[in-house]
């Protein structure tokens, strides 16, 4: 190119490309990092581990009463009705409680749904432990079927003192992959438009 500056640029290029590759990988690494970060801090309402790991688990703190409210919604594309059988419930921290939700498939097709939970306020969400939940697995409802769906939970007694009301919210989504699988195995072909 020129006689004056026959410089070897490969060293710089190699280093710079390593930075590029590193930041591309970092982008994908953010997904597990974000997920772990949310689990630790409770950002985004991700709830605590099933089973509860607090040292105080099993001890019921009857001096405190927490109001747990329930909220439900169904995402567009899933023709289900979904409600909590009770609007709210009062519990003591450490006390294992079971509540029921009710979901009905309003369509003429068998459908698979997936519920995603969220707890507000964020700072309380890691103290909300579900020991059993319909959100742990896919839920299949036959055409027209209505079913009760139980949730068993315990509020960790370590819950900050300034929290007295929590909201547990569920959103049901259509699991189109599992529903598609269901349709393939069905003896009678259905006309589900996905």
């Amino acid at each position: 190119m020129n006689p004056a500056a026959p410089v070897d640029h490969r060293g710089v290029i190699r280093k710079v490309l390593m930075v590029c590759a590193g930041s591309f990988l970092f982008c994908f690494a953010l997904i597990p990092i974000y997920s772990i970060y949310c689990e630790i801090t409770g950002i985004n309402g991700k709830t605590g581990n099933a089973g509860g790991t607090s040292a105080a688990a099993g001890v019921v703190d009857t001096t405190r009463t927490i109001t747990v409210q329930f909220d439900t919604s169904v995402k567009a594309g899933l023709p289900w009705a979904f409600r909590a059988k009770q609007a709210s419930i009062e519990v003591h921290p450490g006390q294992i409680t079971e509540v029921l939700f009710e979901a009905s498939n309003l369509s003429a097709n068998d459908l698979v749904g997936q519920a995603v939970p969220s707890v507000a306020p964020n700072r309380a969400s890691i103290y909300f432990n579900k020991t059993e939940c319909f959100c742990f697995t896919e839920q299949t409802l036959a055409a027209g079927e209505t079913r009760d769906m139980p949730v068993r939970f315990v509020v960790d007694p370590a819950l900050p003192a300034n929290v007295s009301v929590m909201t547990l919210s569920y959103t049901f989504y259509l699991n189109d992959i599992a529903t598609g699988r269901l349709a393939q195995h069905a003896v009678v072909p259905n006309n589900l438009a996905l």
Partner: protein, 544 residues
């Protein structure tokens, strides 16, 4: 290096300074000369500026009056989305890369960019990327309409334009990364002997830091849009809540790219202002090293403030406080820069040629944009301002009167060096005053609209907002038409060559290696490295 000797021998007869490729195709399509590629980048950017500007005029025409008059809401949304993508990736970034291509080798006494063939490639990817992007407007379902930030799930609910947009973004990213690698290699390896890093012109410094930002964050953008692509077409659930993903995570990843991106678009503008102001104030730049360190601090801080774009998505109090204060911290190095520009002008023998007028307007109006940025950084206030026209006013002050004004200043400043002819100074001043008055008429009322609660990206609005929108639209059309004068001035200088012949120094107070070359700059410059004499360096005293 074994090939050193051969290399020198083969090219020994290349001292002829005007040895250009003979054919048009060879020169402009296959050429690797940094000046030609710089020209291509700048012309491409000008074309995109007018395409993106036309889209803005569609937006302002629809918003001239309340109600839906001219375009369908969906097309309106396509215009807001495409206007942003075209202006950011097609106008501002390529313009700065073009300036870097033209000026960096001449400012550091290098014969060309370090990797000339890759330089050719990084430019020629751009027209293909933008053909891909703009072609979506003619597809079934139209172009992307979910905003340039491409937030899922909205952005992937469109038709197959999603795939085109994502591949276009990939190509722009590859182009930017290659450009950045080239700039880093050029600056680190090809400076004339004696030109230490801390003697480089500030424009070169700001570009070095910008190039590092580019290589650090463009791969993050590429990764995030790749995840959008697999979410839409390959059944992954990175951002799909139904599958255990999280749409808010996209916003975090996007803005981890997006915030450094806004500094990618403004740091070279700081460099341009730092070249022009000392020239026309006839004084060395005040606080050269402070300028360099301030630029580096801004670049570092840009990585830890991204979540201020998303205060309203739900974030713990601690996070909001951290991002609020980290954002406000950026005002300190930025304040240092503004102070230094003003101090450079203080008691200088100033003259007000067009580049200086644009540079001063840049300092004043960019600072206004910076102040509205501080207002947006305040978390409780941001809940009110978020997604309103206040945000639109803020980022147009920093991007139009910031980045674009500095690009125009740079073009007027260096055009005589590029073409060997002076531009028409009277028309240049007319262009400046028209632009400055109309751009304020265009964007200043948008502050009031935003504070009053007018949301952005909506084609209709409450009649209460009618007057300010009408003023803004009139300003918008006047600003757009004023830019035709800019295009005319460039045609007049470059092609009609009617101006006076430019001297090698061009401006009385200009200092720096580029001004030691004749005007127009010879096709091959600094084939032999220049002797560095501190007195010709742009900023004179570099000891502080």
């Amino acid at each position: 290096m074994a090939h050193h000797g051969d290399h020198a021998d083969t090219h020994a007869d290349h001292d002829d300074h005007d040895h250009k490729p003979s054919g048009f195709f060879d020169r402009w399509f296959c050429g690797t000369n940094h000046k030609d590629i710089g020209t291509l980048y700048l012309l491409f950017s000008l074309l995109m500026f007018f395409i993106g500007g036309s889209m803005a005029l569609v937006i302002r025409a629809e918003l001239f009056q309340p109600g839906l008059q001219l375009v369908e809401p969906d097309f309106f949304n396509q215009m807001t989305t495409m206007h942003a993508l075209v202006m950011i990736f097609g106008a501002v970034m390529p313009a700065f890369v073009g300036l870097a291509n033209w000026m960096i080798p001449m400012m550091i006494g290098a014969p060309d960019m370090a990797l000339p063939r890759m330089n050719n490639w990084s430019f020629w990817i751009m027209p293909f990327a933008f053909t891909l992007l703009l072609s979506t407007l003619f597809m079934d379902g139209g172009g992307p309409a979910g905003g340039w930030t491409l937030y899922p799930p909205l952005s992937i609910q469109g038709g197959n334009n999603v795939a085109f947009v994502i591949f276009a973004v990939h190509m722009m990213g590859i182009s930017s990364i290659m450009g950045a690698i080239n700039i880093i290699a050029t600056i680190l390896n090809m400076r004339a002997p004696g030109l230490d890093l801390l003697k480089m012109p500030v424009f070169v410094w700001t570009w070095l830091i910008t190039a590092f930002l580019l290589i650090a964050v463009m791969p993050v953008l590429a990764g995030s849009v790749t995840m959008l692509l697999t979410d839409k077409y390959f059944g992954t659930s990175f951002f799909n809540a139904a599958g255990g993903g999280d749409p808010v995570m996209f916003q975090h990843i996007f803005w981890f790219f997006g915030h450094p991106e806004v500094y990618i678009m403004i740091l070279p503008a700081f460099g341009v202002a730092s070249e022009i102001i000392p020239t026309f104030a006839r004084k060395p730049l005040f606080g050269y090293q402070a300028m360099v360190y301030a630029t580096a601090s801004i670049a570092f801080l840009s990585f830890i403030v991204w979540a201020h774009h998303m205060f309203t998505v739900g974030m713990p109090l601690g996070g909001q406080i951290f991002f609020m204060y980290a954002t406000m911290l950026i005002a300190i190095p930025t304040g240092v820069k503004v102070f230094n520009w003003v101090a450079t002008m203080w008691r200088g023998s100033m003259t007000f040629e067009t580049p200086m007028l644009f540079a001063i307007a840049f300092v004043v109006l960019f600072t206004i944009g910076g102040f509205s940025g501080l207002m947006l950084a305040i978390v409780p206030a941001d809940f009110q301002y978020h997604d309103t026209y206040f945000v639109v006013a803020h980022f147009h002050y920093v991007l139009v009167t910031g980045a674009i004004f500095s690009i125009m200043a740079a073009v007027y400043y260096w055009l005589p060096k590029w073409t060997g002819r002076m531009y028409n100074e009277t028309l240049g001043k007319v262009h400046f005053w028209l632009s400055t008055i109309t751009v304020n008429m265009l964007f200043f009322p948008q502050h009031f609209l935003g504070l009053a609660g007018m949301p952005r990206r909506i084609p209709d609005y409450n009649v209460a907002f009618a007057d300010f929108n009408m003023i803004s639209s009139i300003g918008g059309f006047a600003f757009g038409l004023s830019q035709l004068l800019f295009a005319w001035l460039i045609i007049d200088t470059c092609f009609l060559k009617r101006g006076a012949k430019a001297t090698s120094g061009v401006w009385e107070g200009a200092k720096g290696l580029e001004w030691t070359l004749p005007s127009p700059a010879p096709y091959h410059s600094f084939s032999t490295p220049p002797k560095i004499d501190d007195s010709v360096l742009a900023h004179g005293d570099v000891s502080h």
